[in-house]
């Protein structure tokens, strides 16, 4: 059953378009893939000329986040998850994105958008896995 009280189609489409635009700009202008797990992986290496752009992208993310919080009154997320679940989920997301070479943005948008078979399979897999995992833990 669709929960119409929670469904926000207009802001979802608008926000999605902005995310798509960001991915497009980063590839067209800078030649880089806007995969957040990949970019995060870059900053885990020793700071150098080759990963400076990743630091700058994350700085941009944080600056945009602050701007958004200020202008749109974004409330802090309600974190009703237990500490042990936070650690478990953090481990799974870290290991999984590294092993699987990508997350929602890298595979789900940039990869599928280039019709990459690997990304299409990865996205379907983590969507199904996410649905099952939520079902089992909710």
């Amino acid at each position: 059953m669709i929960n119409y009280a929670q469904f926000t189609p207009v802001s979802a489409m608008l926000g999605g378009a902005l995310i798509g635009l960001s991915c497009l700009l980063l590839l067209l202008v800078n030649g880089r893939i806007a995969g957040i797990s990949g970019i995060t992986g870059q900053i885990l290496n020793k700071p150098s000329r080759s990963n400076l752009w990743a630091w700058i992208f994350i700085a941009g993310l944080l600056a945009g986040a602050i701007l958004g919080v200020r202008t749109m009154n974004i409330a802090p997320p309600v974190m009703d998850l237990s500490w042990i679940n936070i650690i478990t989920a953090g481990l799974l997301v870290g290991i999984g994105t590294k092993l699987g070479s990508g997350c929602t943005s890298g595979h789900g948008i940039c990869g599928i958008g280039r019709f990459s078979k690997r990304s299409i399979v990865a996205t379907c897999t983590f969507l199904i896995s996410g649905i099952i995992s939520l079902y089992l833990t909710k």
Binding site: I2, Q6, P9, A12, G15, G16, L18, I19, G20, S22, C23, L27, L28, V29, N30, G31, I33, I36, T40, G41, L44, W53, F57, L61, A63, G64, A65, G68, V69, M72, I74, P77, V78, M79, D80, N85, I86, A89, G90, L91, V93, G94, I95, G96, T97, L99, G100, S101, C103, T104, I109, K117, V121, T125, S129, S133, L134, Y135, T137, K138
Partner: protein, 149 residues
Amino acid sequence: MPLLKSKQLFFYLSVFIAGAIFAIGLQVAAMVDPNKVKGFLDITGAWDPSLALVLFSALVVFTVGFKLLIAPKIAQNDSPILSDTFCLPTRKDLDKPLIVGAILFGAGWGISGLCPGPTIVNLVHFDAKIMLFFVVMLLAMKLTGFIKR
């Protein structure tokens, strides 16, 4: 030389702007809210299809832009506007790490409603649980990187 320097400056400035647009997009779409994400994954409960529209809309913008603006450049061996090469993944094979990784990532995503993008964007709230999630995720990425090699 000054020309080269300004090209570099604009390179990093555009990277910064792309990051900011990405974060604002996540906030506008409310994908920074883990419970909103969980509402999408909860297909057997009160299902909130919003995330599907976020993905769809992002894909339309990116795919059309890629076809019209980027693919022709790549086909002509042209470079991106402000850098020398398109850094694109070249692998095409489906291997075990890809599948196992996607399963594990999905499992963590389903438990928490968090993936890397929204986690970083949410750091600005200084929420202790988000910060712990971020640190654990980084450690796990780093350790997996050692093993993967």
